[in-house]
């Protein structure tokens, strides 16, 4: 085979795949994923065994590959023993990925494209709730089956979903309103502490917060209340940043928000009633996957509604030119205030969820490190975009897990990737894209087919 031949193949193949899959609607993709996880559930273990993998790869095989790479690096740098048989894991993981995920997804998406398009076209005529419910239901089903195969997947998925909510809530302030707010871990801390205070204080016997105030058999039903309580408290705390933002902008607001973060952290470290540096442990185990999925879904839905409403447009106006916005009768104060309150509310809820997933909180969890993490997610994914936040949060969280075996090198690779993204796409991967559910669920025209 000659060099040019090779080039046409590599250039031609993705394009061909792209052409082949162009006409697949969202519904088709979801069905494909569902098929893939069903395939994995039935044959995953057997396939992994046949391929010589010690266990079913958890994160699409990336983890397996990075583990082998880590072993090689260790062997080269530290002269540790390296078992060449491990090398087989790389092609094995790739085979596993293709057999379990890529092939079923492509096959179902392609073969079912016509049917999926027809279904999508029919649903398109109905009220939005029914197709939305169908899509979201399918998505949940897929995630549920995927996560049920391993506890590690489950916890990773939970924390990733929470990161999506947190990133999106920061995007309201940093993306849509164009400020550089550093206070988000602080809002999150308030939400986490207050919802823990609610659940642990009322329903759990605890050393720090004392005996349960009102033990009740159906206490888990109050979890939404606890989350909302946390969110509202975070909103109230956000007033400390929101009110100065009337007069202050840009860099000065950035350090006000940073000062806020230091203050909140110091406050929780000193409130002995809330455990001080030792934090609060023993939150009830109420944050199950469906709960998190519903809360995060609600969050995405309401934030999307907020940013596409006139309020959201007012935020964009304030970002682009505050004076002009004011002249165009935008109530800038109200716009800033709502942005901070909404952002802080959902950050508080994300904090509450996190507290009940990890089931332990302490002030150190909500420091500068968390700030760097969430800022990275927002700017990596893309400003001013719901898609962007989802992409950013999911990719950084998954990368963080998948590169785990590389240990310290992980913290060189992830920042380098971020720098590259910033250089080549300065506003992030998927910036300034509106998220329209109806648009996303529309049937697609297949290539070579007239509508």
């Amino acid at each position: 085979m000659t060099g040019t031949d090779q080039a046409t193949v590599t250039r031609g193949l993705p394009a061909a795949v792209g052409r082949l899959l162009a006409g697949v609607p969202l519904l088709g993709w979801l069905l494909g994923f569902l098929a893939a996880v069903l395939v994995e559930r039935t044959i995953g273990d057997t396939l992994a065994q046949t391929l010589g993998l010690p266990k079913m790869p958890v994160l699409f095989g990336i983890l397996t590959v990075s583990k082998v790479i880590a072993e090689i690096i260790n062997a080269v740098v530290k002269n540790t023993a390296f078992d060449p048989a491990l090398l087989v894991h790389i092609p094995a993981a790739l085979v596993y990925l293709s057999v379990v995920y890529l092939l079923p997804i492509a096959a179902v998406a392609r073969l079912g494209a016509r049917a999926a398009n027809r279904a999508a076209a029919i649903m398109d005529r109905w009220n939005l709730t029914i197709p939305a419910a169908v899509h979201i239901g399918l998505m949940y089903l897929t995630l549920h089956i995927w996560a049920a195969m391993s506890d590690y997947r489950l916890i990773t998925l939970k924390i990733t979903l929470i990161a999506v909510l947190l990133t999106l809530s920061l995007n309201i302030i940093n993306g849509y309103m164009g400020e550089f707010s550093c206070s988000h871990p602080g809002f999150m801390a308030v939400g986490a502490y207050m919802s823990s205070l609610f659940t642990v204080g009322l329903f759990v016997d605890d050393k720090v917060l004392g005996k349960a105030l009102m033990p009740w058999a159906l206490d888990f039903l109050t979890f939404p209340l606890a989350l909302i309580f946390g969110g509202i408290c975070a909103s109230v705390a956000a007033l400390l940043v929101a009110i100065p933002s009337f007069k202050t902008r840009g860099d000065y607001l950035a350090i006000i928000s940073l000062a806020f973060l230091f203050i909140i952290k110091s406050l929780f470290e000193n409130l002995q009633g809330l455990g001080g540096a030792r934090g609060i442990a023993g939150q009830p185990d109420w944050a199950a996957l469906p709960v998190i999925f519903v809360v995060v879904g609600l969050g995405i839905w309401s934030i999307n509604n907020f940013v596409t409403s006139t309020y959201g447009k007012a935020l964009n106006a304030v970002r682009d030119d505050e004076l002009a916005a004011e002249a165009m009768t935008v109530n800038t104060r109200q716009a800033k205030m709502t942005a901070f309150l909404v952002g802080a509310f959902w950050a508080g809820i994300a904090g509450g969820l996190l507290a009940h997933v990890v089931r332990y909180i302490n002030p150190a969890m909500f420091g500068i490190q968390k700030l760097a993490e969430v800022l990275a997610m927002v700017y990596f994914g893309g400003l001013n975009s719901v898609y962007g936040s989802i992409v950013g949060a999911v990719s950084i969280s998954l990368l963080g897990e998948a590169l785990r075996p590389l240990e310290i090198l992980k913290w060189i690779i992830i920042p380098l990737m971020l720098i590259l993204v910033m250089i080549y796409r300065p506003t992030g991967l998927v910036a300034f894209r509106d998220f329209d559910l109806r648009e996303a669920m529309k049937p697609k025209t297949e290539p070579g087919q007239r509508k």
């Binding site: 550089f180 202050t248 350090i255 203050i263 700017y379 920042p415």
Partner: protein
């Protein structure tokens, strides 16, 4: 509460403030001239301290230590400071070239993120190459404590304050008197139009980063002398606090950053005796741990009443999206 006690804290605050001031100075130069949040600056300070450690160890090996030394300790110290400032300036230039120049036309926040990431890379590389353990900084000059009427002053404290103020004055002279300084000030005024009249933007940017990093290296070595335990994350909290000081000082005011740095140091140190005095006066029991809370509440209050910093001029700060 005696006067002694107050004076002792004042001197401690002066020393602590000079670190903030020196680091904020470099931060503020980048910030004023290029309008960038250089979030890697704290880690450049860390790198500067480690470079200083390496340089001083090499020098000590060459000239010998103790009684057998060829030259007195302060000569080694001066040489260490100068060599490390020179070397760290290159680190700053590389950071500018890799992380900031490609983003000259990007939104400022994106450059802030690259800065943050470069910082993480610097910390991680440190752990990677040096193993993450704490290292002791060699004591180049002998520490002497003077007891002046119950106030304890060390020779190092005096030296640190003098050297930092000297460096600040030198920088001030450079910025206000020299041609390059004038170019820098012009750039701070408007970095879109000024390059059009022939001022080389890239040269000025490189120079800004070089000077800022050199100052950070000086701060790192002085820090190593007075707090001789170096760790890879030592720059993080300094970086964020210098960020506060630089902006608190006001954009375009390099001396403002200095004063804000000293002020931040004063607020942080003086909160502790302040709490004690309040405790005595009102028979309360507030712990000194509320330091961060009180210090940053003061910062918050200052910004509420002076929304454009201490010496900054009101301007419309837009993130150029």
């Amino acid at each position: 509460m005696s006067l002694n006690f107050f004076m002792q804290n004042l001197i401690n605050a002066l020393q602590w403030g000079s670190f903030y001031a020196l680091i904020a100075l470099g931060y503020s130069m980048v910030y004023s001239i290029l309008m960038l949040f250089n979030f890697a600056h704290g880690d450049i300070f860390m790198v500067g301290a480690y470079i200083g450690l390496g340089v001083s160890l090499v020098l000590l090996k060459v000239v010998g230590t103790g009684a057998a030394a060829l030259v007195p300790g302060w000569v080694v110290l001066v040489a260490t400071i100068l060599i490390s400032m020179f070397l760290t300036a290159f680190v700053g230039i590389i950071v500018e070239r890799v992380g900031y120049r490609p983003l000259r036309d990007a939104p400022r926040a994106s450059a802030a993120i690259t800065g943050l990431m470069i910082g993480i890379i610097l910390e991680t590389s440190n752990i990677l190459f040096l193993g993450g353990q704490r290292l002791a900084f060699p004591q180049l000059i002998e520490s002497r404590t003077y007891n002046i009427g119950g106030i304890f002053i060390t020779n190092k404290k005096i030296m640190i304050v003098v050297v930092s103020i000297g460096l600040m004055l030198a920088l001030h002279q450079f910025v206000t008197r020299s041609r390059w300084g004038m170019a820098m000030r012009a750039m701070a005024y408007d970095f879109v139009v000024v390059p059009l009249v022939g001022v080389p933007l890239n040269t000025i940017a490189v120079m800004t980063f070089a000077i800022g990093s050199a100052l950070a290296a000086a701060a790192g070595i002085l820090f190593g002398l007075s707090y001789p335990v170096l760790d890879p994350y030592m720059g993080v909290s300094f970086g964020w606090k210098a960020f506060v000081a630089a902006i608190l000082g006001g954009r375009g005011s390099i001396m403002g950053a200095c004063i804000a740095g000293f002020m931040l140091g004063f607020i942080e140190i003086m909160t502790v005796p302040g709490i004690q005095i309040i405790n005595r006066l009102f028979a309360l029991n507030i712990g000194s741990n509320l330091r961060d809370l009180i210090a940053y509440s003061i910062v918050l209050a200052i910004l509420i009443f002076r929304p454009h910093g201490l010496f900054g001029e009101p301007y419309s700060a837009k993130l150029r999206l």
